[in-house]
């Protein structure tokens, strides 16, 4: 209905322009940029493809699926971690805390990575370096093998969960003031509960909503975990 008969059906030549070849790395680059710019939900196969001036189908020649791309993003973020100071058995607890802070740091620097990392067994080379470091610190703390191994599972789980919670909270377009207002609302809500049914919740409405945006909560968490691990150390 739109083209006259003498026009060829195939529109002459799209003349596929010569462009830089698509590679895994270029895909991860583009995805990472998108992740930093727009968060996890901003990373879709379509947008990544568009960034590379192509269609979504082209990506599947280099990446199995979205989950694999997610894992590659986690791996890329993990690569930013580096452990300079050598393991010092006398300071293993502080060094372990430093490692957890660093892990949270990279996740904060790349918002959305936590969402991709949670519930994905990290098997990349970079993740292995982190695991190795963690195990070294735990063994320096004289933990039994099984305890060290399970701790190496527990720690990333906690750090990732914290980071994930943060990125959900600051999702999309919340400003610092929005968060503050939300926390204030929550505090008021808790304080307004019936005292006879929830006496402690009402009494602790303040502490419960304290340090929501700061690092104090996280510091508390890593203190608890480190202390708990130290309690398991062999004499």
């Amino acid at each position: 209905m739109t083209h006259t008969p003498w026009q060829p059906i195939t529109p002459a030549k799209p003349a596929r322009e010569r462009k830089a070849p698509l590679t895994r790395d270029r895909i991860v680059d583009a995805a990472m940029e998108l992740l930093r710019k727009e968060g996890y939900d901003g990373v879709s196969m379509r947008k990544v493809a568009q960034e590379l001036r192509t269609g979504p189908a082209s990506l599947y020649a280099h990446v199995a699926n979205k989950r694999e791309l997610d894992q590659l993003l986690v791996e890329r973020a993990n690569a930013q971690l580096s452990f300079d100071d050598p393991v010092d058995p006398a300071r293993w607890q502080e060094q372990l805390k430093d490692l957890m802070r660093a892990m949270l740091g990279t996740m904060r620097a790349n918002p959305g990575v936590a969402r991709a990392a949670i519930g994905a067994v990290p098997t990349g080379e970079r993740a292995l370096r982190t695991t190795e470091r963690m195990l070294a610190l735990l063994k320096a703390g004289n933990l039994p093998d099984q305890a060290a191994a399970w701790a190496a599972d527990l720690i990333p789980l906690y750090v990732t969960a914290v980071a994930f919670e943060e990125t959900v909270q600051s999702a999309s377009d919340w400003t610092a003031e929005d968060v503050e207002a939300f926390v204030a609302d929550l505090r008021a809500y808790l304080a307004s509960q019936p005292v006879d049914r929830f006496p402690l919740t009402v009494a602790l409405a303040g502490p419960l909503t304290a340090g929501a945006s700061g690092d104090e909560r996280f510091e508390f968490g890593i203190t608890v975990i480190t202390a708990g691990l130290a309690a398991l150390a062999r004499p």
Copy 2:
């Protein structure tokens, strides 16, 4: 092309059949059933509506959006928790562990709830009861207010993260054998790493992959957390 001229254009009467009125509860019921049957990804507004023999738009008169429905599901699952034995200061650590076990239990019984709960501040009435119970146990353990409050945040975070990891692992169609095979593969992968770069990872390949499907890992976690909290108790 299908109806003859003398038929009226409008098909007489859709005669909207009289049906049980849609309510919040019926929607949550249907969603909960779907959640249990097909996991979190099986719960979509469309499928819930279909289960109720209506269209997705109908749900929005009773539920603000998907996030609210998720929270209602979490609330529903929380309602299954009950705390019968009174707080006993002498046994606060064991009682706290029991609470964590119960929380994980309800999340396991309703696969997908963890996914809905993670990163959502629980403000429902049932969630408050859990918080209250937790605070009571922590205060029984002589923890300072701020420590108790932050612990009441840390504990659900950990339990939810564990449950979420489990539901991702057992997502959709993995059988117990599949999980076992995956774990075996992972162990072999870890053991095959270069010894000079990852000595501990290689040496601990066994412990690292132990107890993946059992409760030992979780027991380890709650032991660490409880011990860490006990270390913060006021003298």
